[in-house]
Amino acid sequence: MDKVLFSSVSKKFVMALAGLFLILFLPVHLAINFMLLKSDPGPFNKAAHFMATFPLIRIIEILLVSALLIHISYGIYIQIKNWMARPVGYAIGIKTKTSFFSKFMIWTGASVFTFLVIHFSNFYFIRLGFVKGNPDDFYSVAHELFRIPAYNYIYLLCFILLGLHLYHAISSAFQTLGLNHRFWTPVVKVFAWIYAIAIPAGFAVISITIWQFR
């Protein structure tokens, strides 16, 4: 049974499913974040409160955190196994022209994870009571953070890295699930490009607007 659960195919299957689940959450998060652009803190705080208290969302939240932990732990495990598969490297690195971003998934993923730790400490940990802050006014917490230039630089850099991660991740997940099609695979690749640009750009627009214009 272990051989099935931890086979090279199964590990990637689990990783792909967890990754796609995380990807689906991003537009929801972005839609809520757009409420930060309103001058009235009410809608955003209400949405944040709803996300924090509605039972179904709480279940999804547990699934999301589980998916994140599974995606990360499997990603690290797979990467270590991959490094072990070539104990002696080449004197001249592999020059094959391939998907550039696919070579750096572990590093773009690690950067996104680092950002998530910062992000969780700013918001999620306030709610859990680990970090000081008003859990009923995340609007003000977000606005205060976006007014700090250094926070913005880190925020924007992390979203560029997230975009690079997403671009390969989406098309790769479909291939991993066995969904390769003469017509649909190129469509998925175009969609991955659009998604990888649009989602980080959306988050960036919000942070830059608050930083520069509010």
Binding site: K3, I78, N82, M84, I92, S172, Q175, L177, G178
Partner: protein
């Protein structure tokens, strides 16, 4: 052409290897890469030195034994050819050519540029066949095969098991090779009978031998001398999921 060859020399599996530089003169652009190495070896034998060990057999791109890593590419920088069919006209006078053996945990170096590729055979033995009773060959047209499936199966079956996909993959994954072998049977009615057992056994053996995981980078497809497609890997995945 005058060339500088930087070749990995390693006495045996246990010894530590190193690069040795050889100067070659009068290399004809009409030579194949292996003929150029033959010329080097002739020179080395004449001077009493140990010739460079490299694997070769058919020298017509069929057997898959002549694998070596040339200037950062398995089988050299020209797409869709094996080393034996790589012509020296693709190199220029004064070039330095670095030649290394395949690098992967399941491909230990035996000597110089020769690696032990028996891991590929072990995967094939695990399930890459169809069990049939001996006896007279059945009538070829008694089992009908859709033309497209027959063509796709053939496209997969042309994999020569050279190991270039493993050598090119940043993870040393054998997924393209295994997927080609799975596909060539999965697409044909005769292969469907044992499809589940086959994919389970071959993937399990591949993992057991220490090959890396596929991260869909596509280097295998780009370097495959037989142009085996990534669609085979997606088919392997589907076959694996169906098997459980």
């Amino acid at each position: 052409m005058k060339l500088t060859l930087k070749i990995w020399r390693q006495k045996n599996a246990k010894s530590k290897g190193k690069f040795v530089i050889y100067k070659m003169e009068n290399v004809s652009p009409e030579m194949s890469f292996l003929e150029m190495l033959d010329a080097l070896n002739k020179k080395l034998v004449e001077t009493g030195d140990e010739p460079v060990a490299f694997e070769h057999d058919c020298r017509e791109g069929i057997c898959g034994s002549c694998g070596m890593y040339i200037n950062g590419h398995p089988h050299g920088p020209v797409p869709a050819v094996t080393t034996c069919l790589l012509s020296m006209r693709y190199f220029s006078d004064g070039d330095t050519i670095t030649i290394e053996p395949w690098r992967a945990l399941p491909f230990p170096v035996i000597k110089d540029l020769i690696v032990d590729r028996s891991a590929m055979d072990k995967i094939q033995i695990a399930g890459g066949f169809i069990s049939v009773n001996t006896g007279a060959a059945p009538e070829a047209n008694s089992i009908l095969v859709q033309k497209k499936n027959a063509e796709d199966a053939f496209d997969s079956a042309i994999c020569i098991g050279c190991g270039a996909c493993v050598a090119a993959c940043k993870n040393a994954s054998a997924m393209l090779f295994v997927s080609a072998k799975i596909s060539q049977y999965a697409l044909l009615p005769q292969g469907r009978v044992e499809a589940k057992d086959r994919v389970r056994a071959m993937v399990e053996k591949m993992d057991e031998l220490g090959f890396g995981n596929c991260s869909n980078t596509g280097a295998c497809e780009a370097e495959c001398p037989k142009q085996i497609k990534l669609t085979n890997i997606a088919r392997l995945k589907r076959e694996y999921y169906k098997a459980y």
